[in-house]
Symmetry: C2
Amino acid sequence: MPLPDDLSHSLQALLGTRFSVTQADRGHHAQSESFHSAPPPDAVVWPRTTEEVARIVAACADAGVPLVAWGAGTSLEGHALAYRGGVTLDLSQMDRVIEIRAPDMQVTVQPGVTREALNTELRATGLFFPVDPGANASLGGMASTRASGTTAVRYGTMRDNVLALQVVMADGRVIRTGTRAAKSSAGYDLTGLFVGAEGTLGIITELTLKLHGQPEEVASAVCAFETLDHAVECVSATIQSGIPMARIEFVDAATARAFNLHSGASLPEMPHLMVEFHGSPGSVREDATRFGEIAEDFGATGFDWATTPEDRARLWRMRHGAYHACLALRSGAKGVVTDVCVPMSELPAAVHAAAEDIAAAGLLGPIVGHVGDGNFHSLLLVDPDDKAEIAAAKEVARKMAERALSVGGTITGEHGIGVGKRDLMAAQHGDGWQVMGAIKQALDPQDILNPGKMLPDRN
Amino acid sequence: MPLPDDLSHSLQALLGTRFSVTQADRGHHAQSESFHSAPPPDAVVWPRTTEEVARIVAACADAGVPLVAWGAGTSLEGHALAYRGGVTLDLSQMDRVIEIRAPDMQVTVQPGVTREALNTELRATGLFFPVDPGANASLGGMASTRASGTTAVRYGTMRDNVLALQVVMADGRVIRTGTRAAKSSAGYDLTGLFVGAEGTLGIITELTLKLHGQPEEVASAVCAFETLDHAVECVSATIQSGIPMARIEFVDAATARAFNLHSGASLPEMPHLMVEFHGSPGSVREDATRFGEIAEDFGATGFDWATTPEDRARLWRMRHGAYHACLALRSGAKGVVTDVCVPMSELPAAVHAAAEDIAAAGLLGPIVGHVGDGNFHSLLLVDPDDKAEIAAAKEVARKMAERALSVGGTITGEHGIGVGKRDLMAAQHGDGWQVMGAIKQALDPQDILNPGKMLPDRN
């Protein structure tokens, strides 16, 4: 459905060639990293300033036309797809690092800056931004999905690393949330409300983030275990021992095979843990020794230490490439990617049960996980044209989520809700889901910000 | 104003003697730790279960009568006072530790459990709950004010240590927020919204908290500095060096004098830092040595190490008693207590300016602070019957807050808003304050939950 003429004209007048209704531009914004699909948006805009975003939102609000924010397009639950049409707000040209405040270990960025671009910019400061979901996502998108990843076990998630935001509200008003102080008790935590809101409450146009000192010493290793249970039980024991792991990642035997076939590795086709330690030379040595002792108790073998920065980069590039390496295990496959997160004591049983469900469904579904915080994923490989297979994969994902709920966990640790997990929200939150709906109704009465995602239907 | 008869009868039928309208019980709930005062509530109730709270709230909602939650009565900005009358919900009998889950380092408690009672209960587990605002506050109250205190620099604030809540909403519905997983991306962060909401959005009836391992080794020390500037600049340098301080507290010369007069200390009457290190024996030694070197650069003298648990307990009891020791510096005085929080690089100038303002106003106002996160307090000692003096103290507090805002900080790091800082909310949040008001309106349309606090007037 084309946009109303008035809206088209005003967006064109405001943005010139940064407003597009071409098939190519719209089609590009109908794509997703995962199996989710939707028709293209009616138009795409590329604002460069907060003021432009505010004027775009106000114009869409006047016309009652939906707006969907787009960062790097790497989300996994269909968050950025325009299921109800309208305008996709591509924020990739809002890519300025506005200010680095090294003494306060803070940076202010526009939302289109990617995490890799930020860390490149920070290289000379001795600081880095640790949150690392694998994909080179935009920081606005990472805030909006409350992203985390491999280092969250040590440095926290986006919830812990966003200090302040600038946000354009559904009526075009611009607000600032949070401050540059380390903590505040001044009213509702609006920053925390917008982080993880998936663009349904406002458009993030600026973020102030916490930075961390680059560790003096880093050590990484990979080791193999006889069984999945041994590997995951080793993780629980390690975390409970209090060793401050910087990363502790699980990959199963199928993923090890994918690394061998598609990432140039030569690992035994067994479950593995990939670990990293950050600290002073003394503390890293102590932590690594203690971890080695625990791992040995669980039968770990083939310890391979990455001693140079290049070796470490190769190791984590391989881990980050797991999704695409696993997709390549089956030609033409798309991934039904799902994640859950459970309390640490429940992790071994939850991973074990997921593996059994995948096998029982006759699916190929490698399991990997940021297991240090109880978070794991399965990448269920499906033929995108085979509806029965997609349904079987979704059923496995649903079982994983329900099992997570039954042991005190959550239906998603880091991927978010989007459209993919909306039908599980009532099971997780009960009446709390309606409370979320009431907040949405209060702040976006027309339901124009990323409609159809996450929230209950309006009455 | 007495309660409506119907409401009185139904509360009495529900609660028996745990419903009171006596002058004594009402008067007890009209008191505050600070200079704020209000008329007593019309009635006090002492529920014991979530279901009782839900029925009380539903009954008050039917009658349109305000409800104010009361924990331990230690808040400083008038949070728990019944400015608009109604029912005070004293949660002190909801004091059960419901479940300790040691392997997951979590505990679930009722809101009336105090932090000291919890830590006594945890003693045998090797775990502890670190958030420590000084006062023996209730955990529900600490969540509601987003409390922090001496250890926040290492372990975070209530924002970081509350995993899940049970909350009674303004219409009596009971919801659960959060999960026992370490992280979640499943929808709006309602837990984060209720933490710091000061009882204006719902009544917290259960909390699941993160616990931490008792450190293997602890070392505490106190040392003196020639000037306030030297002490505070030492803090900035220490934090920027990345030493993982467990505590780093500033007390000024007036506070040192108060400790000498009222806490049995014999400190030089100079500014001091009180520090603590947690870790392994090796890491504590390393951290303490590095801190000692930095402190020496700023001219620290008289290092006094507390080597036994008893000595350490005495040291921190003295620090926690600072408020009452300082009050005793002037007989009959009440405290206009205020706190602000600024970015670390702004801390030395902010503390210096506050000290100058206090001196210029001719007030006695000791300064102390959880300076490791940029948070400091002044305890302005006033004659409660001297309106001019109270006005002068409030003016100093206002200047401190405005200066904090002008350098990117917040008007309160941990005390909250209550009635005391409501008139500074617009300056801090701009239109964001109206966004808070819209959320309040959506979730408490009758404005019965702690009305008159924190939020903008209704239109």
